[in-house]
Subunit: 152 residues, 2 copies
DNA sequence: GCTTTTAATGCTACAATGTTGCATCAAACA
DNA sequence: TGTTTGATGCAACATTGTAGCATTAAAAGC
């Protein structure tokens, strides 16, 4: 099983400037939060991180910052299974990978070794843009006690 | 490419009774709506079908009917990519298949030939319950004109 | 440095989707 | 027919995300 050394990330300010955006505290902090996390973060989790860092921000601003990152291809969205999006940095050249969603604690895990493809045989005229592969179940922490206790 | 003759569905009333539930107009109509559809339906679409059939119902009742169907394994939920769940009948013994979501018109297509697996190598202690494979892009209807017009 | 331009923000209001509590109704069964 | 209790209807609420618009501040020009 291959291991995954943490990638050397491009500094947030450079990333933003390279895409022709204005370097604001919020954007910098959002990118750094995503870069620091080993798994995709929800809007809410990112907001909490900013708050903890003392960076004031509006809910809407955060949504818009995330939208922009996705538009620029700096970050990508993951559907998760609940109704909230998750976000993660899109390391350059990296293939899209599958994710595991723990239905008990809600945690999402990146399965770096499992590609999100392969491309299916689609009916004529269909255009494939991307694929999302999400596994559901219980993580190691939740699995044991979950077996006796929790229901959904 | 294999073709898929429409499966002979178990009558709704029998399905419900077999699971120890009460046979109500709403449940029967929901199951029949799902059985009649070639693709997964959203809560809203099912509601519209019931309304068209003159079956009065409350939003909440419909949510609860769908929850029950999923609990019983009669139907299954699909995440789609928007925030609304889609539902489809879980034909007995049928493997879970992948879906295609058109990002322009929102339509979901069942890719019966594409299995939602295969099972990944998960870290120790993780338990796999199910997998969801969703492809995104443009359907045949939206693809052509979409190329010039629409943006997201 | 100071001014100008306009991208980004903050605020308010709203939309969409789904949930909870509780009183009432009716499906199943004796 | 009457009794039991699962299912429903209604009101109120929660969460997640959007739209419009006035204000702020990043960055470019001077
Ligand atoms: Mn990931
Ligand atoms: Mn399907
Ligand atoms: Zn867990
Ligand atoms: Zn389409």
């Amino acid at each position: 099983m291959p291991d995954h050394p943490p990638p050397a990330f491009v500094p947030a300010r450079e990333l933003i400037a390279a895409h022709g955006g204005r370097v604001t505290r919020t954007r910098v902090a959002v990118i750094e939060a995503l870069q620091a996390s080993p798994h995709p973060l929800s809007h809410d989790e990112i907001g909490a991180t900013l708050a903890a860092a003392g960076i004031a921000h509006d809910r809407v601003t955060l949504y818009r910052a995330l939208d922009w990152l996705v538009e620029q291809g700096i970050a990508q969205r993951i559907a998760g299974g609940e109704r909230a999006w998750r976000f993660e940095i899109r390391s350059d050249g990296e293939h899209r990978h599958a994710h595991f969603h723990c239905d008990r604690c809600g945690q999402i895990l990146c399965l770096e070794d499992v590609p999100a493809g392969p491309d299916p045989a689609l009916p004529a005229g269909f255009e494939l843009a991307r694929s999302e592969l999400v596994f559901h179940g219980a993580c190691a922490d939740c699995g044991r006690e979950g077996a006796k206790a929790a229901k959904r």
